[in-house]
């Protein structure tokens, strides 16, 4: 066991042996180690959010042709800390008629649901919180608790905007769970396991290659689960003030805020893990700690895309969003799941008669699945074409609100 190549396992072993030598029972030591690990992961998650909030605001600013945070620290990198201080010192407001217990419980549920996800994400081959053999199901279950937090927040605030936000949240989160689960079943099928780390282990060819459609569905529906733009109907400020978090202030609001950013980062991590090979990369066999680096590189790339989408997309209408889910994503995911299952089964049926090289098998399989996905895409596009929205009848020409004045002739020349 080498400290350089695998420090975390090294420390964990050392600590465990130390505690054992003090005469503690094995069960107890395991419990202590798990507690320490959980604390570390949680703290790490929150610390990460400090950075991602800055990153996102910076990107947001740049895209909108602003500077973004730039005062505190180099490039404004410490901007989040003053914000935190401000939030900590703010007054807690509890509305009249609010259901106090529930009102206070909601933000905690909301954050903890996101944080619970991190328990099963493998950071490196040896650094896994817990390898649950139904890890994928666990992810889905935990997602459901997040929805609970939101709906409780909306209801307990005794505010109609909050309640409307909560209603939308239920409609959105519960509906988008359906295609998400279906899309998650595709990697489960391909990897022959429900454990998250086994899925990473199975990705000698990344699942994004095998099933780009599943990746896209998963990515889209988990974007919807986070409730960020373009799916931010549950807190659409132009309609609902701030949705379910309207009445919250101070640290309770901060928890929602952190929860949202952490959720966005978490879905990036999940996408990277399940579809982009997680910690897989060169030399992870020899130096397991390198897996962490690969994992975070991939995660940040996905996160970047998430942020870009948030910044550049307009908000959907509620009916569009639900239609998109039930009439497009869900059927597509169902078709994909069935066809993938059939193809994979067929592939392993004919495999013995193909005499492939051992090394070539995953690639041949990946190629077949890719072809299947391409085929589905083509069929989908053809079907969509036949459901094209009939061109809207133009009643009158749009009139510009303001017309730019003619530039003086000298400028033109």
């Amino acid at each position: 066991m080498n400290f350089i190549s695998d420090p975390i396992t090294f420390i964990a072993n050392w600590l465990g042996n130390l505690l054992l030598s003090w005469g503690l029972s094995q069960t107890f030591v395991t419990v202590i180690l798990k507690f320490i690990g959980a604390g570390l992961v949680g703290t790490f998650g929150f610390a990460l959010v400090i950075f991602t909030i800055w990153l996102e605001r910076k990107l947001y600013g740049r895209i909108q042709d602003r500077l973004g945070p730039n005062r505190v620290g180099p490039w404004g990198i410490f901007q989040t800390f003053p914000d935190m201080i401000k939030i900590f010192t703010k007054e807690y407001i509890t509305p009249v008629g609010a259901d106090k217990v529930v009102y206070n419980l909601a933000p905690i549920l909301s954050v903890s649901a996101v944080l619970l996800t991190w328990a099963v994400i493998p950071f490196a081959p040896t650094i896994v919180g817990t390898e649950v053999n139904v890890g994928v199901l666990y992810l889905v279950a935990v997602g459901a608790i997040g929805a609970l937090g939101i709906i409780l927040a909306g209801w307990s605030s005794n505010n109609k905007y909050s309640l409307l936000g909560a209603f939308r949240a239920v409609a959105q989160v519960v509906s988008y769970e359906v295609p998400m689960v279906l899309a998650l079943l595709v990697p489960v099928l391909l990897g022959r396991s429900m454990g998250v780390n086994s899925l990473v282990n199975a990705q000698s060819v990344w699942f994004i290659v095998l099933s780009p459609i599943a990746a896209l569905i998963f990515f889209t529906s988990s974007m919807a689960e986070t409730g960020r733009a373009p799916f931010d109907l549950l807190e659409a400020e132009s309609e609902l003030v701030a949705g379910y978090q309207t009445e919250y202030s101070g640290l309770k609001f901060g928890m929602f805020y952190v929860g949202e950013f952490l959720h966005a980062f978490t879905i990036s991590a999940l996408t990277a893990t399940i579809f982009f090979g997680g910690w897989r990369g060169p030399w992870t066999e020899q130096v397991p700690i390198l897996g962490v680096a690969w994992f975070f590189i991939k995660t940040f790339i996905v996160y970047f895309v998430v942020v870009l989408i948030r910044i550049s997309m307009p908000r959907l209408r509620i009916d569009q969003m639900l239609n998109f889910n039930w009439k497009f994503l869900t059927p597509l995911a169902l078709v994909l799941l069935v066809l993938t299952a059939v193809l994979d089964k067929a592939f392993y049926l004919v495999l013995p008669s193909l005499n492939l090289l051992e090394a070539a098998i995953p690639w041949v399989r990946a190629g077949m699945h890719l072809l299947l996905n391409l085929f589905i895409v083509i069929i989908t596009v053809q079907l969509l074409k036949s459901y094209k929205i009939k061109s809207v009848q133009v009643v009158a020409k749009p009139k510009p609100i303001a017309v730019a004045p003619e530039p003086p002739a000298s400028v033109i020349s």
């Binding site: 008629g97 279950a141 609970l148 709906i151």
Partner: protein
Amino acid sequence: MTPEQIIFLIVAVVTLVAGVSVVTSRNLIHSALWLILALFGVAVFYVLLEAGFFAVIQVIVYIGAIAILFIFASMLTRRVMQDTGHQSNKNWWLGALIAFGLLVGITLVLVNWQGFTSLAPVLANQSERLSQLGLALVSPDLYVLPFELASVLLVAAMIGAIFVAGEKKQ
């Protein structure tokens, strides 16, 4: 008392208290929240019974879907945050009597059964259990028929629910 027994007792007490609160709470949303707690307790029992899969399913199905539906329906069907008076019938004592009588009856039956206090045998092939269950559900010799019936039931329920709850447009 082993740690497991301690956990069992704690969870059992919490679950039962939650259960009692479900049926007695005046505020329906609180009832639903207590229900969630009780369902969580049941999920912990599944873990204690070494059926982790069922624990996860319990969380997904009951808490992720059913409890949220309850909350949703409660919100839709009553004026929000307004407590109403008595939530029980006039003859609640009769119901309590019957429930208690049933408990006594069940306990009597159980106590007289010789397998009542049996202990758990060791579980073999921990990892393959799940796939065995999956195979059994779709194997023609075992449970494919009930399984398919359940799926038909689900589809029928879905269509029925949409039809019943959907607004009728004249």
